[in-house]
Amino acid sequence: MTEIAQLVLNGIIAGTILAVPAIGITAIYAVLRFPNFAVSSIATMGAFAGYVANVSFGLPAAAAILVGFLLAGLVGVVSDEIVLKPIRRNGLLAAAIASVALTLALENVVRFFFGNDLRSYDLPIARDWRFLGLRIGPQQVENLAIALIAMAAVFLFLAFTRMGKAMRAVADNPMLADIKGINADTVARIVNFAGMGLAGIGGMLIGLDTSIDPLTGFRAILSIFAAAVLGGLGSVPGAVVGALTIGIAEELSLLILAPPYRSAVGFVAILLVLTLRPRGILGERAY
C-alpha cells in the first residue's frame, strides 16, 4: 500500500513537471495550429543552458532555470522566425515535418558542442524527508514549486492580461484577430518564446532529477505529447490534467513493467484516449 502511495506521490511530482513543457507545446499548438516537434531539442537546450549557468557559473538551480527559460525561449522564437514561419505558408503538415527536421538539427548542435556524455547538475547534497512512510527529496519539492509557479503564471497571464487574451483571440480566430488590430506575428513570437521557454524549464526540471545528454528532450517527447493530446491539443488546463494522468500512470506502470517501458505508457495512453475520446479529456481548445 505504501509502495503504491509512494508511486502516486512520485507520479504527481513527475506529472507536475511534465505539465510545464506540455503547457508550452499545447499553447503553441493553439495559436499556430501544428504540433511543433522542435520542443524536444529545445527542452534539451534549456537543460544545457541551465547546466552551463549552474556548473560553469555556479548559479543555484532556481536561478539556472531562469537562464534555461530565456535561452530556450530565444531559440524557439528565432528558429520559428527563420525556419518554420515561412514553411507554414506551404501547409501546417509541412511545418510539422519541418519541425522534426529542426529538432534533429538543434539536437546535433548540442551534440556538436557537448558530445554525447551524460552530465549532472551541481546540486547540494540533501537528505530525503520522510512522512507517513513516504519519501520526498528537497530538490523534488523545489522542482514541484517551480513547476507550480510557472503554471500559475501561465493561467494568470491568459485570463487577465491584455496580451494573454489577445493570444486566446488569435488561437480562436486568427483572421478576426487581425481585423481587430491584434498583431498575429507578435502573438506568435510571444507564444513561441513562452511556450519554448516552458519547454526549456521542463527539460531542466527533468534533468535535475537525473542527468542530461543531447537526447534528454527526445526521451521525454512521447510523454509530453501524450500529456497534451490526452488533455486535448490546444487546451491549457487539459495539458495539466493530461500531464498528471501520464505522470501517475508512468509511475504505476513500474508495478507491472520494466522501467525502460515507462515512456511507452504515454504512447498507450495516446492510443486509448484517441480511440475512446478523440478530442481529449477536456475537449480540444477549451481555453
Partner: protein, 300 residues
C-alpha cells in the same frame, strides 16, 4: 569503386522502396506516417529471426516481413484512421519509438542493443562478396521495379482516385459512397508491408541489425526523399531516393574540409546538413522536383 557504386545503388533502391511506400499513404491518401522506421524495423526483425534463428528460407522471411509489418500497419491504421493529420504524426512517431524500446529491451527475442548478426543472405558465402553484392542489387532492383509497376497501376486506377479524394475531404468521400476507413486501412497496410519488406531486405543485405539502425533519422531521410522528388508522384519518390543517397555520401566529405573535428562532431554536422536540406526543400520547393500531375480525361 564499382563495389562502392553497387552498395550505393542498393541503398538507393531500398530508400526508393520506402519512399514509394510513403507516397502511397502520404502522397496519395494524405496520411502522414512519421513512424516509417518502426515498420522498417518490424520487417527487419521478423525476417532476421525467422531465417537466422529458425533457419527458414529467405523468401519466407521476406513474405513474413511484409505480412507482419502490414498487419501492424492495420492495427495502427485502425486506431488512427479517424484522426486528423497532426494526431497521426504524433501517434506514428510514438509507434516507432515504442518499437525501438521493445527491440532494445526484449533481449531474449532481439538480443537487445547488441543486435542480431549473421543474418543469411542469398548466395552469401557461396560466391565472392562482389558477386553477392551485385546479385543482391539486382534482387532489390527487381523488387523496386515490381512495386513501382503495381503502384503506378494503383495511382491511375479508380482506387487511387478514391485515395486522392480522401486526401482532400474524407467526409465527402464517405457521402460519395466510399468506405473511407477501409480504404485508409488498405493503403496503410500495403505501405507498412512495403516498409517491412524494405527492412527485411536491409537485414539480409548487411547481415546485421540492431536498434541503432532504426532511429528517427531514417524516417527523416525518407520524408526528405519523397518531398524532394515530389509528393504524390511515384517517379518522384524514386528520383528523390537516388538524390538522398548521393547527398548522404556527399556529406561524408565534410571531414575533408573540416579537419580537427571528432567523429561525434562530424556525425552531428552531417545530420544538421541533412535536416537543413529537408527544411530548405519544404520551404522553397514544396511540390518537389517532379510534381504530381492531374489526369486529362475529358476527350474520349
Amino acid at each position: 569503386m564499382t563495389d562502392y557504386l553497387v552498395a550505393m545503388l542498393t541503398f538507393a533502391a531500398l530508400y526508393g522502396l520506402m519512399s514509394l511506400a510513403l507516397n502511397l499513404v502520404w502522397g496519395m491518401a494524405g496520411m502522414i506516417n512519421l513512424g516509417l522506421v518502426g515498420f522498417f524495423a518490424l520487417g527487419g526483425y521478423a525476417s532476421a529471426l525467422l531465417t537466422h534463428r529458425f533457419g527458414l528460407p529467405i523468401p519466407v522471411g521476406l513474405a513474413a516481413a511484409f505480412l507482419f509489418a502490414g498487419a501492424c500497419g492495420v492495427v495502427v491504421a485502425l486506431v488512427t484512421a479517424r484522426l486528423r493529420g497532426d494526431y497521426l504524426a504524433i501517434v506514428t512517431l510514438g509507434f516507432a519509438e515504442v518499437v525501438r524500446i521493445i527491440a532494445s529491451n526484449e533481449i531474449w527475442l532481439t538480443n537487445g542493443t547488441d543486435g542480431i548478426s549473421g543474418i543469411p543472405g542469398p548466395l552469401r558465402g557461396e560466391v565472392p562478396p562482389a558477386t553477392f553484392n551485385l546479385v543482391y542489387l539486382l534482387i532489390v532492383l527487381a523488387v523496386v521495379a515490381i512495386a513501382f509497376f503495381l503502384l503506378q497501376n494503383l495511382r491511375h486506377s479508380p482506387f487511387g482516385r478514391v485515395l486522392r479524394a480522401i486526401r482532400d475531404d474524407d467526409q465527402v468521400a464517405a457521402v460519395a459512397g466510399k468506405w473511407v476507413i477501409a480504404f485508409k486501412i488498405e493503403a496503410f497496410a500495403i505501405s507498412s508491408g512495403m516498409l517491412g519488406l524494405a527492412g527485411a531486405l536491409y537485414g539480409h543485405y548487411t547481415s546485421y541489425i540492431a536498434p541503432d539502425a532504426f532511429v528517427p533519422l531514417v524516417t527523416i531521410y525518407i520524408v526528405l526523399a519523397l518531398s524532394a522528388g515530389g509528393t504524390g508522384s511515384n517517379l518522384g519518390a524514386l528520383c528523390g531516393a537516388l538524390l538522398i543517397v548521393f547527398f548522404q555520401e556527399g556529406t561524408r566529405f565534410i571531414a575533408a574540409w573540416a579537419p580537427g573535428l571528432g567523429a561525434v562532431q562530424l556525425a552531428a554536422l552531417r545530420e544538421i546538413a541533412i535536416s537543413a536540406t529537408l527544411i530548405l526543400i519544404l520551404r522553397f520547393r514544396p511540390q518537389g522536383l517532379l510534381p504530381e500531375k492531374l489526369p486529362r480525361l475529358a476527350k474520349r
